[in-house]
């Protein structure tokens, strides 16, 4: 019962979001007061739905790549063989985080051209740190008795990793991915400055034509997406931590 109200709110937010993306005209009266006379209240330079889908696709690809690389690195540096790479890996992902995405875009465009690619690179670099740090924490704070038992039962290194260490670290790794994906959803908007198809287009168009309704709808769609995806990840974490017996 305690979860009922928040879940109803989430469901309502999702329904409104989908309705807005599919039939934006329905919401015109709400946004009309925000614009000067004759200016359009609903974004009219492309489909909001397709912009949202390509925004999500870009974030998904970048986060997926960041997850593979960050978790891979975390696995490597928590093995005896890779322990000496820990400082190096930490510096690399830290640089990815400290380098502003705008600067990455500026540097990437001359190399890979305009479009999705520079955005993907910026989001990928920006997303590494939370996933890497969380995966490191998850893999290096496993209860010693369980790690010992996994060796004692005769599991090979690979079996210990896949059957015991990763499943037990999964809730913490998921928390890292959740942080990374939320940051990327917001950051992806700046990709539109280098012609990536994202919801940033709507915001930029609004800023250029002094259209508050555009800015607001672009921003709100991103915000609602971020909240819903964040909550979905939180629910998933709760589920896997119950299974991992960490509750």
């Amino acid at each position: 019962m305690k979860r009922l109200l928040p879940n109803l709110l989430r469901l309502a937010a999702l329904i409104i979001l989908v309705a807005f993306l599919v039939q934006p005209a329905l919401f015109e009266p709400l946004l009309k007061p925000l614009v000067q006379a004759n200016a359009p209240a609903i974004y009219n330079q492309g489909s909001l739905l397709s912009l949202t889908l390509s925004h999500l696709t870009t974030v998904f690809i970048a986060t997926f790549a960041a997850t593979v690389v960050a978790v891979g690195l975390a696995i490597l540096v928590t093995r005896p063989i890779g322990a000496e790479f820990l400082p190096l890996s930490r510096s690399l992902v830290n640089i990815g985080q400290t380098f502003p995405p705008v600067a990455v875009l500026a540097l990437a465009v001359p190399v890979v051209g305009f479009g999705e690619k520079p955005t993907l690179i910026a989001l990928f670099l920006y997303g590494l740190l939370p996933i890497f740090e969380n995966a490191m924490t998850g893999l290096s704070t496993l209860p010693p008795a369980i790690v010992e038992a996994a060796r004692g039962t005769g599991m090979t290194a690979w079996q210990r990793l896949t059957k015991v260490e990763l499943p037990l670290a999964l809730p913490i790794i998921l928390a890292g991915i959740r942080l990374s994906v939320t940051i990327s959803l917001a950051t992806a908007t700046i990709g539109s400055t280098v012609a990536a198809k994202t919801l940033g287009e709507v915001i930029i168009a609004g800023l250029q034509s002094n259209n508050l309704a555009f800015v607001l709808q672009g921003g709100l769609v991103v915000a609602v997406l971020a909240v819903l995806i964040y909550d979905a990840f939180s629910a998933m974490e709760r589920m896997v931590s119950r299974r991992a017996g960490r509750v």
Binding site: A145, T153, G154, L168, R246
Partner: protein, 312 residues
């Protein structure tokens, strides 16, 4: 049979196990005791190669334990540790099935084995199999830990302070269960503990370790009568000697013909506990019954006093 041959383990300049040799007879319980840092756990962990020795060799049934990869060796040797080390994301049944699964047993065989072991440890397979470890009590978790160690029917079971985390009541029960299971399977058990009481109760032979060396390796009675060094004597506790002697034998062995009044004692009770019951009830003798409740005779205060005296 486990033959430990001049085994040494060094970490840098620190010698943890120092040139130890001992032979562990099959189907016996050997308890390694010592203070913390004496190297007893390291010695045991070299048997299943969780720790690789610096020098020396260990042979199991005549074969060098380095003849096969470490993980294959460990699948053949049961291993139970303090705090049980159960996998929290797997059910009780899946935990017990760990080693058979690694060995590639057929599903039906694994299921039968899990059922057999759960029943043997007095846990209802239907009720406990699907549960997760955190849903069990400490004593139940410990039993599942031992059941997992025995699942692939190993000849050897290594136990590292297996009862350390249990309260005294459950610990006594767990020790009885272990002895019953050791008889049932004929497993060779090597157990590490710092609890002398536990050592005298369980062991066929005790190895006392101090600073990486074995200072005495003997049957409990011999150790009581002839402690090799002052250290062993201190560890046994001079004031405890008659009681330790009594805790080795069961009341069944001390039973004599005759009858007595009072609450009967089970034959498997240790003589020490029998003495305690006699003293507490204020009686000269108490009846003794077998596991099935059949009267076996009686045990007297005088006979226990005789048995507690220094053997000659």
């Amino acid at each position: 049979m486990i033959e430990i041959d001049n085994i040494t383990k060094r970490y840098g300049d620190n010698t943890v196990v120092d040139n130890v040799s001992m032979t562990i007879a099959p189907r016996t319980v050997t308890v390694i005791v010592g203070t913390s840092g004496s190297g007893k756990t390291t010695l045991m962990r070299m048997i299943n190669r969780l720790v690789e020795p610096t020098s020396g060799a260990i042979r199991i049934d005549g074969e060098d334990n380095r003849g096969i990869p470490g993980y294959e060796l460990r699948r053949r040797i049961g291993y139970a540790i303090q705090g049980h080390g159960l996998f929290p994301h797997r059910t009780v049944a899946e935990n017990i099935a760990t080693v058979p699964g690694l060995l590639g047993w057929e599903k039906s065989r694994i299921e039968a084995k899990v059922k057999e072991l759960l029943s043997l440890f007095q846990l209802d397979p239907a009720a406990f199999g699907p549960r997760y470890p955190h849903e069990l009590s400490g004593g139940q978790q410990q039993r599942v830990g031992v059941a997992r160690a025995l699942a692939a029917e190993p000849n050897i079971l290594l136990m590292d302070e297996p009862f350390g985390a249990l309260d005294p009541v459950i610990r006594a029960k767990a020790q009885e269960d272990l002895l019953a299971i050791q008889k049932h399977f004929g497993t060779t058990i090597v157990l590490v503990t710092h609890d002398m009481e536990e050592a005298f109760h369980l062991a066929d032979k005790i190895a006392v370790m101090d600073k990486g060396r074995i200072v005495q390796y003997a049957a409990p009675e011999d150790m009581l009568v002839n402690p090799a060094t002052d250290f062993v004597e201190t560890l046994i506790g001079v004031g405890e000697r008659p009681f330790r002697l009594l805790s080795i034998g069961t009341v069944g062995e001390a039973a004599e013909a005759g009858t007595a009044e009072g609450e009967p004692l089970a034959a498997a009770t240790s003589q020490r506990d029998a003495l305690s019951s006699l003293l507490w009830s204020g009686r000269e003798a108490l009846p003794v019954v077998g596991a099935d409740g059949v009267p076996l005779g009686r045990v007297t205060l005088a006979s226990l006093a005789r048995r507690a005296a220094r053997p000659r």
